[in-house]
């Protein structure tokens, strides 16, 4: 193995990041865009996301309600609400920014990726009937059928609705991994970006 003289090594460390920055940035951004596209695609194809996006007439494809009713109605959203939109907006806004030259271990440049935390997502996904609580967090930790009952009480009434309410209550909500595991996974992928 050939050894470079120390002064050459130091000169490389000093000059290479500047010289290579444009190429490295191009490469990093290309990889970043690919992972970001995968992230958004995965989020949009999650059964919970799909079910909520389909609105009040969707089937319970997430299986969280044992096939009875659907998440949109169970959580208590009103027709026309787009609860997933703020999350999508945050994911679309994920960006990569040049940080600094990297000289300590190897030669290169480093970037910052601004990915929201799970807490950031929970803060923008309020339950329609209790704004201090997050429906997205509720998917992971459990959510009561209160929104469904209150919405029904405020709207239609009668035996048909009542029996449907009873069915939903009888089925109970089944928690499922959603935002936290998703963000954790993509945080790792962005950290490994090279």
């Amino acid at each position: 193995m050939a050894f470079l003289p120390l002064d050459v090594q130091n000169a490389l460390k000093r000059q290479a990041p500047k010289a290579l920055r444009r190429d490295l940035e191009k490469e990093a951004k290309r990889n970043f865009k690919r992972i970001k596209a995968e992230m958004i695609k995965e989020f949009l194809s999650h059964p919970v996301t799909q079910e909520i996006m389909e609105g009040p007439s969707a089937p319970n494809i997430s299986g969280t309600l044992g096939g009875v009713s659907n998440l949109f109605a169970f959580i208590g959203f009103d027709a026309g609400n787009q609860p997933v939109a703020p999350i999508l907006e945050r994911l679309e806004a994920v960006d990569i920014i040049y940080n600094k030259e990297y000289k300590e271990k190897g030669i290169g440049v480093s970037f910052n990726v601004f990915l929201p935390t799970a807490e950031d997502i929970f803060a923008i996904t309020p339950l329609p009937w209790a704004t201090g609580r997050s429906w997205a967090e509720g998917i992971e930790r459990g959510i009561s059928g209160l929104g469904y009952l209150l919405r029904k009480s405020g709207g239609r009434s009668g035996a048909a609705v009542q029996s449907r309410v009873n069915k939903v209550r009888g089925g109970r909500f089944q928690n499922t991994p959603y935002i936290s595991s998703f963000i954790k996974r993509y945080k790792k992928r962005f950290e490994e970006l090279k």
Binding site: R141, S153, R169
Partner: protein
């Protein structure tokens, strides 16, 4: 079955919550008044029941300024536990030995601003199904006893939901997280905001681990050993690993939604993450 971790957590959380609310919020009112006789078929023939207009009474002597009763006045004479009086703090009444139903009974006690109950009901059951008697802390009369046994509001319903173990340290130590919930049903927004504010600030508190045997109330609603002091009981178990309030979120039922409910009550929620580092089956 012998008591498990979950039993200890439930007892500890309940006693801590009650004490924290009373201490930080001074959430009680000292009261003096008449007690009223009523027939209670659940009682055996040893006692007759004289009920006050309020339940639950404060049991905790560590709450500065709260009047903790040790007896009642029967026809003007004080009678305590040694005279055959049982004080049912939960149901707000005195159980008096004998069969006299026309005594003039009066007493002094501190009534909680919020009754605190443990429950297994879901939030939707608590809020939409249960038809509560409102035991107003600002009643306008006429004065009479409050019916025993049924839950009344204003009240706070405590429950534990999910629990999870995660490996924490070599040797099998676990990081156990339990989600505990409180549903608050209040008479007005002042009360509700007060409770939410107190417990929002309970993050980072430690909760003394008190086993079920440390629960201070007997089957008749009176105090074991004639008195109960949360601080004292806590000190009895100082060697036990405490629980830790790692996260607290508070929220309220929105006003628009609240108006759907048939009653005029105000509803709030507190979600706690309680943690303890422990070994399994301890």
């Amino acid at each position: 079955m012998i008591a498990q971790f979950q039993h200890k957590l439930t007892t500890s959380f309940f006693l801590w919550f009650d004490n924290f609310l009373l201490e930080k919020g001074e959430a009680y009112t000292n009261t003096t008044g008449d007690f009223f006789y009523y027939a209670d078929p659940r009682l055996d023939a040893t006692y007759v029941a004289y009920g006050s207009p309020f339940k639950q009474w404060v049991t905790d002597s560590s709450i500065t300024g709260a009047t903790i009763p040790s007896g009642v006045f029967i026809d003007g004479d004080f009678s305590g536990r040694n005279d055959g009086v049982v004080l049912d703090f939960d149901n707000g009444r005195a159980l008096i030995s004998g069969d006299t139903t026309d005594s003039a009974v009066t007493g002094e006690f501190a009534v909680k601003d919020f009754n605190v109950y443990l429950t297994n009901d879901t939030e939707d059951d608590l809020i939409t199904e249960n038809k509560y008697t409102v035991n107003s802390r600002l009643p306008s009369g006429p004065w009479t006893y409050i019916e025993p046994y049924d839950d009344v509001v204003p009240a706070i319903f405590l429950s534990t939901a999910q629990a999870e173990n995660k490996p924490f340290a070599f040797g099998g130590m676990q990081d156990t997280t339990v989600q505990a919930k409180a549903v608050i049903i209040a008479e007005d927004t002042y009360q509700l905001d007060g409770v939410l504010s107190i417990f929002m600030d309970s993050v980072d508190e430690t909760v003394a681990a008190i086993p079920m045997s440390g629960y201070p109330i007997t089957e008749l609603g009176d105090l074991k050993g004639d008195s109960y002091d949360y601080t004292g009981v806590k000190n009895d178990y100082v060697g036990e690993t405490t629980f830790y309030v790692n996260k607290v979120r508070t929220s309220k039922l929105s006003d628009r939604t609240r108006k759907v409910l048939a009653n005029e009550l105000y509803v709030g929620f507190i979600d706690f993450d309680i943690e303890q580092h422990r070994y399994r089956f301890s």
